[in-house]
């Protein structure tokens, strides 16, 4: 296949960014949406074509690098080659990214219509898509980092799209800075890896490190720091980067705030694609994680599991629908993470890996659908708050149905997509780590509960009261509903894809098992959650308040997101600003500057104090003269003889 096709996939969106960014405002203000969408469509078609070509060619899927360009040479060993890496997960990802992006592009044609900065919006979307595609196609750890950062900044731009809203600006900043903090870990991890393995190229990296005999592998294991091998540190630090991007506990605080961005953006970036980059990164380096540093993989598992349950609990108490979805995203990514964490390398033990990628795929579908559906609702009621909603099922039937499908999918009710991927994850956890399995099980019940809490609150509960200031009353036209329908199709049906055949740890196809007896428990828990939600929220009543009151302390803590934000605020404002920043500035103003000024002032003061020397009296001058002469004479006759 000609290289240009691979290149075109990310570069078409880039072209869209440049074109719309530079000229959009002046020349095609209203057409910019269509231009962006069209470019995206071509990119999507190419991506599907490439992926199809790859998966259909053979039954064993090699790692190819069809495109390569030496970007920067650091030293003899380490050079940064920009390239395209072709392997099952990257092929799967480009389809997901281009597909969701295309859906969001189409959806935004309706949703963002009439916005003042419409071309800018599309150019940012294109920039994001470009960066995300670059990230997934990266053939080099450093290239991943480059696009990792670009994804971060696109996310910043899109969260801060409503730049005159202080809350949006704050959220954008928070998202960027928190992920940046995590990226510091990623960066140092790269340095460690580069130094120990002499390469950053994924192919060679994995090959040299995982082959037990290689010089690099043994040296990496040998050099230790604080009791852990260099490679352990490297992968752990890289995981910090991944955890930041994927909003894992405790680096998750930016994700709920990121919902300040336009809803389609949340669907694309903060649900389906960017936030799973951390999972993708771990999956990308999975052989190293699992063969060389299993300890780090354990950490990955635990962080994922904790995040999953932690977010689920918070999600049960929130009232902003986008925030609920954000916490649910965090929880679901936790699933993907711990699925990787409990997986092993090769054969059946690699089920977690397959499951994780599978869940990533299905999650992209139903979570994007949820967000877009929520977007329609918000568009309709002009509010994010659950309390302003209710009884909308009659007003917006299409949204209602698609939203329901998505909720069923995420709750893991068969035969929707989420059921299959979640079953695999649970199975992998059951085989790998029992405690994580139980956590996952509880979380799955909670998931069903809070999703249906959301569903019932929006579409049932109290009857909808149209308030005066909401203008047009429609679901937003087919341009917005079309993506919902397509995605609903995906959410309903994508579970039947035989993922294990394509994506596995060691290239040997995994058969998907279906154990009926194993599925009973999770599905039952899911149904229980749904009924619980129904009981509490289907009709307006005071049961939720009672329940909240009975859980008093815990409810309050969960409602305040367990005060994590406050802790961060305390650390940054009180500790970093007051104890480091302010003293540094003070030190500079007073000590460093002061020393220079002191030197100046001393000179002036001395100059002032010795002015009496020049008294104007000639006889005194003569005395100095005489003493000078005699002094010199004494000095040289007696002392320096």
């Amino acid at each position: 296949m000609p290289a240009i096709i691979y290149i075109l996939i990310p570069f078409l969106p880039l072209a869209g960014f440049v074109l719309l960014g530079l000229f959009g405002k002046k020349y095609f203000k209203s057409a910019s949406g269509w231009i962006g969408t069209l470019l995206m469509l071509v990119s999507f078609i190419l991506a599907v074509y490439v992926a199809y070509d790859y998966f259909s060619a053979t039954s064993i899927f090699p790692r190819n690098v069809p495109v390569k360009y030496t970007w920067l040479v650091f030293s003899e060993n380490i050079s940064i080659d920009m390239g395209v890496l072709q392997d099952p997960i990257s092929m799967m990802m480009i389809v997901v990214v281009t597909f969701i992006s295309l859906m969001v592009h189409i959806y935004s044609l309706g949703y963002m219509k009439g916005e003042e900065r419409y071309p800018t919006y599309y150019s940012f979307l294109s920039l994001f898509t470009f960066s995300m595609l670059g990230l997934v196609l990266a053939s080099n750890l450093f290239q991943t980092y480059i696009f990792w950062e670009l994804v971060g900044v696109s996310s910043f731009l899109l969260i801060g799209y409503y730049y005159d809203k202080p809350s949006a600006v704050a959220a954008a900043k928070k998202a960027f800075i928190v992920t940046r903090f995590a990226d510091l870990g990623f960066l140092i991890g790269i340095l460690v890896i580069a130094n120990t393995s002499d390469t950053l190229d994924y192919n060679t990296l994995i090959a040299t490190l995982t082959s037990t005999g290689s010089e690099q592998a043994s040296s990496a294991a040998a050099s230790t720091f604080l009791g852990a091998s260099a490679l352990t540190w490297g992968t752990a630090l890289i995981f910090i980067g991944g955890a930041g991007k994927s909003a894992m506990f405790p680096l998750h605080i930016w994700l709920p705030d990121a919902m300040e961005g336009p809803t389609p953006v949340s669907a694309l970036i903060h649900a389906a694609t960017m936030v799973v980059a951390g999972v993708y990164l771990v999956a990308r380096l999975f052989p190293i994680f699992s063969i060389n540093t299993p300890a780090v993989l354990d950490i990955v598992g635990w962080v994922g599991a904790i995040s999953a349950v932690f977010a689920a609990i918070i999600a049960c108490t929130q009232t902003d629908i986008k925030r609920i979805l954000a916490y649910s995203t965090m929880s679901q990514i936790g699933y993907m993470m711990f699925a990787l964490g409990v997986a092993g390398y090769g054969g059946e033990s690699g089920l977690g890996y397959t499951a994780s990628m599978f869940h990533l795929f299905t999650h992209a579908m139903f979570k994007a659908l949820l967000f877009l559906g929520a977007g329609v609702v918000i568009h309709y009621v002009h509010s994010n708050d659950m309390k302003d909603m209710g009884g909308l099922r009659k007003k917006m039937p299409v949204t209602h149905i698609t939203f329901l499908i998505a909720c069923l999918a995420i709750a893991g009710i068969p035969p929707f997509a989420g059921f299959f991927s979640k079953e695999e994850i649970l199975l992998a956890a059951y085989n790998g780590n029992t405690i994580i399995y139980w956590i996952a099980l509880i979380t799955s019940g909670l998931t069903a509960f809070y999703m249906f809490r959301l569903y019932f609150s929006i579409f049932w509960n109290k009857p909808y009261q149209a308030d005066h200031h909401s203008g047009h009353k429609s679901e937003g036209g087919w341009i917005m509903l079309f993506p919902l329908l397509v995605l609903a199709l995906g959410a309903a049906g994508s579970g039947f894809i035989p993922f294990g055949k394509y994506i596995n740890t060691d290239g040997i196809p995994l058969e998907s098992h279906f154990h009926l007896q194993f599925s009973i428990l999770p599905v039952a828990l899911g149904l229980a959650g749904i009924f619980m939600a129904m009981w509490l929220y289907k009709k307006q009543n005071n049961r939720p308040e009672k329940l909240a009151a009975s859980l008093n302390g815990f409810y309050k803590a969960a409602y305040h997101k367990f005060y994590i934000d406050e802790i961060y605020l305390f650390v940054t404002k009180k500790i970093i600003f007051n104890l480091i920043g302010r003293p540094a500035a003070w030190f500079d103003k007073n000590v460093v500057d002061g020393l220079v000024n002191l030197a100046g002032n001393t000179t002036t003061a001395v100059s002032e104090s010795i002015k009496k020397l020049q008294s104007g009296r000639i006889q005194q001058y003569a005395i100095y003269f005489l003493f000078g002469a005699i002094g010199l004479a004494i000095l040289f006759i007696y002392i320096w003889k």
């Binding site: 000179t603 002036t604 001058y621 004479a633 040289f636």
Partner: protein, 466 residues
């Protein structure tokens, strides 16, 4: 006889001019407007003449000697006098006793010529007096001003005091060596205490004329009191001449005491720079300011002298050449302003650039040259001095010297700041500058820029010192 005429031609020319002026004075006299151009032409001839018919040799049993280096030094001094006559023409024209002023100045110049040519302590002493006493009279030339007479009084009394000490030193040298010939003294020096004492006394006379701390105290008062023409003569010509003979005295006559005078120079140069800088910092009067700045400059000259070799000589000669242009430019501007507006305070210079850009640029160039900032010649001059001094690898000394450059930059910047930056409600009015003054200022400005960049000038000086 012909030897006598050729070897002493500079002295003879100056003497001739003095006599010419005397005749003018005795005769019915001329108006200043006519006389001044005539004098300027004569001085120009003197400058031009000093470059030709140079021959090396000595007269009167080595009492008087001249070399091409000495001839060059005399050219520098003549040039400086010529420039002074141009720069101060406004003030000079107004002077009641123009011929006398020039007679005195030229007598002093004559004294300096003899001084740098002298090969004998007697001639040295005589010429030193000849170059000092008329200057004291010149200092008093603003007859009506209290400050002028006070300055002149301080100058004559302290120089008399200094020559008393000098003579006492000479008498001891004579007593211990039995000779006053420069060529014979070195062989008789044995470094006994009495000789060291004599040397120190002799040294103080040079130090006094050069205004080395602590023998400098008269300088500022005299500079401030005297008319600017005198001040610039004192600061440039007289200092230059003494520096030249100082080098001869140290390098040739007191060569056996090199260790002593090297240390002495190190100590005194540091003291001079520091004290000069510290005092210059807080001056308000431009003349007084330049006085202290020139004291600090002397500190640098001493650094060059401390080298004790040909490089030291050439760097000092070159620096003095540069110094002539820089200092005269500064004094010239000060004189133009003082003559036109009577203002001599640095505060009055505020906002000068708005009204007098030409004067401002010349002043700035001069000050930066004094501070040793490129592309001015002062940069090269100072650098050569310092690198000459550094040859003895006394780095602590060189660091102290270099640090002093910072302080000196600070106070030069005070003036620059007043000129360019500070605001002033009533700046000095636009001053009409006469053509001669402008010419002189342009010569100075060109000299400041070109002397360093045209490397053959320094090369030439070096070829003279070998």
């Amino acid at each position: 006889m012909s030897d006598f005429i050729i070897l002493m031609k500079s002295e003879l020319v100056v003497t001739t001019i003095i006599f010419l002026l005397l005749f003018v004075k005795i005769g019915k006299g001329m108006r200043n407007e006519k006389l001044l151009p005539l004098i300027q032409v004569l001085l120009l001839i003197n400058v031009l003449f000093s470059f030709v018919f140079n021959k090396e040799g000595s007269l009167f049993d080595g009492m008087f000697s001249t070399t091409s280096l000495i001839a060059f030094q005399k050219s520098i001094l003549s040039l400086a006098v010529y420039l002074i006559s141009l720069l101060c023409s406004v003030w000079l024209k107004r002077s009641e006793h123009l011929p006398e002023f020039f007679m005195l100045m030229l007598s002093a110049l004559l004294g300096m010529f003899f001084m740098i040519s002298s090969g004998n302590l007697l001639i040295f002493y005589l010429s030193l007096e000849l170059s000092t006493i008329p200057v004291a009279a010149m200092a008093n030339f603003d007859l009506q001003k209290r400050a002028s007479s006070e300055g002149a009084m301080k100058m004559i009394l302290s120089s008399a005091f200094s020559s008393g000490i000098l003579l006492f030193g000479i008498s001891l040298i004579y007593g211990t060596t039995g000779t006053i010939l420069f060529s014979e003294i070195p062989g008789q020096l044995d470094g006994s205490p009495i000789q060291i004492l004599a040397f120190v006394f002799l040294f103080t006379a040079f130090a006094f004329k050069l205004s080395v701390v602590p023998f400098h105290l008269w300088t500022a008062d005299v500079y401030e009191g005297a008319p600017i023409a005198t001040t610039s003569f004192l600061s440039v010509v007289s200092k230059g001449a003494v520096a030249f003979i100082f080098i001869t005295a140290l390098y040739k006559v007191f060569q056996p005491l090199e260790e002593t005078w090297y240390l002495m120079l190190v100590i005194l140069s540091i003291a001079t720079m520091v004290i000069g800088n510290l005092f210059a910092l807080r001056q308000k009067n431009i003349k007084r300011f330049l006085a202290f700045s020139s004291i600090a400059q002397v500190g640098f000259i001493l650094v060059g002298i401390s080298a004790g070799n040909e490089i030291g000589i050439s760097s000092v000669v070159f620096f003095i050449l540069v110094y002539v242009f820089s200092n005269l430019a500064a004094f010239g501007v000060a004189d133009v302003i003082s003559a036109a507006s009577g203002k001599e305070s640095i505060d009055d210079y505020k906002g000068l650039y708005k009204t007098n850009p030409f004067l401002s640029w010349i002043m700035t160039l001069a000050l930066f040259s004094l501070a040793g900032i490129p592309p001015t010649a002062g940069f090269f001059g100072k650098l050569f001095l310092i690198s000459a001094g550094a040859a003895k690898a006394n780095y602590i000394y060189i660091i102290i010297v270099a640090l002093n450059m910072i302080v000196s930059l600070y106070y030069y910047l005070i003036v620059v700041r007043a000129i360019f930056i500070d605001k002033n409600e009533q700046p000095i009015d636009k001053i009409a500058i006469s053509k001669t003054v402008k010419l002189a200022l342009i010569i100075c400005g060109a000299g400041i820029i070109l002397l360093g960049l045209l490397s053959w000038i320094y090369e030439h000086i070096q070829s003279l010192t070998v």
